[in-house]
Symmetry: C2
């Protein structure tokens, strides 16, 4: 693992220097949450926690300290602190794979204020990125129904980590495999892929290229049929080789089409393969796909078995930013917890103060979730039978509501920094279970119904008090 | 440096296995080029070559080989090849910082076909990413005129490399500094930043927070004024502290505004600062900026001195993909060079065959570039006084044109893998020089004039022959 301790914005160091001098014994609680869901969806799939665990505890090398010294911004006292502090931050997080909603704390950090401040960018970069891609993968997987999604985007990713951790996040969000060998090795996820056009071009003709492929991969022959012309060259040549394969006791995998009008080409390909005696040969498509194009292709009845999804998944191209923020929620000084708020000019950006817990609420005795509620960490929500709440959305009408006959499950769990990585496929399974608990209307790709995220009355009152005070 | 040799798509290995068996002595030439410019611009700023140099020569560890063995896709002969091959690829590239145009080879690889095939994804991921961000930074820098751009996007980047190498690319494209400390250390680029809202919230009140900042950073006090209310709280408190600073012999840097209506807030802030005797205090803005918003703010006369640009730069959010491709251009077998082409169903996707060179053409004796021309590598373009060319754009009308009175400068240069990194700021200077040579109409942000990229007659004829043959 690389040391990512320096993946920090400069101002975190400048603040930590002041905090360390002015309030060395103060502890702080920071929350990570987001306000908007990419692609106008209703939920985000939380992802990235394991990479954060791998990056912690953080510390600085003597080369780092030398670099800081050369910036001439801070004194030796602070450099000494950076060289020797003992990591003492405690994280709570919503497990990877969980669908989460706006304003909910995905992760909280409690620790000495200077240390906790220094974690801001490292945590945000990782959580924002992986959650963004897991969410996009979930949208694409929904659109594809039961057809497997192969993550093919490495070459269009925004740098190596975007490719590597993006592949991991894609699997958490529902992808079946990745083409990225490094991700396959690091996370033990299935790797997939056939051939590029260069394979066909390197041989004197397409038929020879297909034959050689079948020779080396007799049980793994998925042939790319659009190098010259799909219908007059690619598929006829593929069928010739498929027949030869079968004659030698092997069954072909299928074909891949990477360009042209996919609906009509896949229909004609299906017919040609069926008529040639290969009804089980699969058709894979891989041309600038996303959830909208996949939905449209399937709506038109295109007979596609697998989707290879590239740049639009690995960059979440239609909505390439998850704007998670890291906000101070409370400080603890002389044994006293002081909740904190950021007010700003816009109502939408007012933060939710205090040390909190997030609960998922189910209809009593069922696995049907109907809302989440944000509460102060010390409120005994799980034991209550009745709950007075407000909508946490600052743009909603503020009206008290009474909730009854529910079971409440806390979502934020203490993070064990020694936690061993589990397979992204295991997290995918967990994610599917969580999603099965949500109302169907909330999971629609277009115009999803809002899933309510409430605040307890106590928390709402605290927020109002702090707004009035400032 | 991390070993990125495995940042490869599975199919490259599967192809390399076949190539190694079928044509172990064949050498290949691959080109990297793109067809479309992000944001409907006319050019891309080439970037990423140094990271490629740092990643080469590539090789595989015994742990990698064990992983391959476990995939059960390839035989021991091929694993043995992977464990022991001697890197023998030769790269030519257009230098970082150069503005480049559609269909031009940014980078070519010549080497044993199996090795050259294995480089595909590694090279594309790096070049696509860094060129994308350098291009976006150049657009944003154009919009900002002479006002400095600070790159602030790490927390919204798509993973760590997107933040780190994105900051490097942003500087190549024109950014003056980055907030990202790791990028600052790795590439020796200036780091910048002030404080977050958490600094202000951690103190009992805003005035105390500002005073403490000024105490620790008397010559570096840029105060964030929008935690509570910009006009009634933030700026008045900042002015109080600025007066105290001046009384103690220091001059304030200025203020930063991160929310609200920037045009009216910056105007009022300017007036308040001027009236208080601080006409040199700078106003920095940092709220979801990109080239369009910056252009609009400046068009409205907003008195802004610096721009902090975050997610929309580091992800190139409005156009988050540069679709560079890696295409086989020629193979060399038994001493004979055989040019290769990919035809496809769409005219737009037909590749330009052969081993090539790209020239920038200048009006004779001047530094005014008027077009580029793609030629076969062995055509003596620089020595010619007259050149018959076709437009290389497959969607243009194919008509011969005669060019005269030009100087021609070759752009593709041999890559020295031992080349030492130069500062991204030096590359930024080089890039500005190259840009100064281009026509102004080509550099417009909106509806730029097309800069012509021609092909020589010889190359056009070769392309047509190969289309007819296939």
């Amino acid at each position: 693992m690389r040391n990512l301790s320096l993946l920090t914005d400069l101002y975190e160091f400048s603040m930590a220097n002041g905090f360390q001098k002015d309030m060395p014994d103060t502890r702080a609680t920071f929350d990570i949450f987001f306000r908007k869901v990419p692609d106008q969806g209703s939920f985000v799939i939380a992802a990235g926690l394991q990479q954060i665990i791998d990056a912690l505890p953080f510390s600085f090398t003597s080369a780092d300290i030398d670099y800081f010294r050369g910036l001439h911004l801070w004194d030796e006292d602070f450099l000494n602190f950076l060289a020797h502090f003992k990591f003492d931050c405690h994280l709570r997080a919503i497990p990877e794979g969980t669908p989460v909603f706006p304003r909910e704390s995905l992760l909280t950090v409690e620790g000495p204020i200077a240390q906790a401040q220094l974690l801001e960018t490292l945590l945000l970069t990782i959580l924002n990125h992986q959650s963004l891609i897991a969410t996009k993968a979930r949208r694409i997987t929904f659109a594809a129904g039961n057809r497997p999604i192969m993550e093919f985007g490495a070459r269009r990713a925004q740098g190596a980590d975007s490719a590597i951790y993006g592949a991991r996040a894609a699997v958490i969000g529902g992808a079946a495999s990745t083409s990225n060998v490094l991700a396959g090795k690091l996370f033990a996820i299935p790797v997939a892929g056939t051939m590029a056009h260069s394979w066909i071009e390197a041989y004197p003709d397409e038929l020879t290229a297909f034959r050689q492929w079948a020779k080396y991969y007799p049980d793994n022959s998925a042939l790319l049929v659009d190098t010259y012309d799909v219908l007059t060259s690619g598929i006829p040549n593929a069928i010739t080789v498929f027949k030869e394969l079968r004659a030698s006791g092997h069954e072909p995998v299928g074909i891949r089409i990477d360009s042209g009008d996919i609906t009509s080409l896949s229909r004609q390909a299906r017919q040609m393969l069926d008529e040639a005696g290969f009804p089980k040969a699969k058709i894979t498509i891989s041309n600038a796909l996303d959830e909208n194009i996949i939905e449209s292709l399937l709506h038109q009845g295109a007979p596609i078995d697998n989707f290879g999804v590239g740049e639009k998944l690995i960059t979440s191209a239609s909505s390439p930013v998850l704007s998670g923020v890291y906000k101070l929620a409370a400080i603890e000084q002389n044994g006293q917890l002081i909740p904190k708020i950021k007010i700003s000019d816009s109502r939408e950006k007012v933060t939710i103060p205090g040390k909190k817990q997030v609960y998922r609420l189910y209809h009593q005795g069922s696995h049907e979730a109907f809302a989440d509620v944000i509460a102060l960490a010390d409120e005994p929500i799980a034991e209550q039978h009745e709950l007075n709440v407000f909508d946490s959305n600052p743009l909603s009408v503020s009206k008290i509501q009474k909730l009854t006959q529910f079971d409440a499950k806390p979502l934020l769990k203490p993070v064990d920094l020694k936690q061993k990585a589990v397979s992204p496929l295991t997290i995918q399974d967990f994610s599917k279970q969580c999603l099965a608990e949500l109302p169907n209307e909330t999971k629609r790709l277009t115009n999803p119904d809002t899933y309510h995220v409430y605040m307890t009355t106590k928390l709402a009152n605290l927020q109002n008090e702090l707004i009035d005070e400032n």
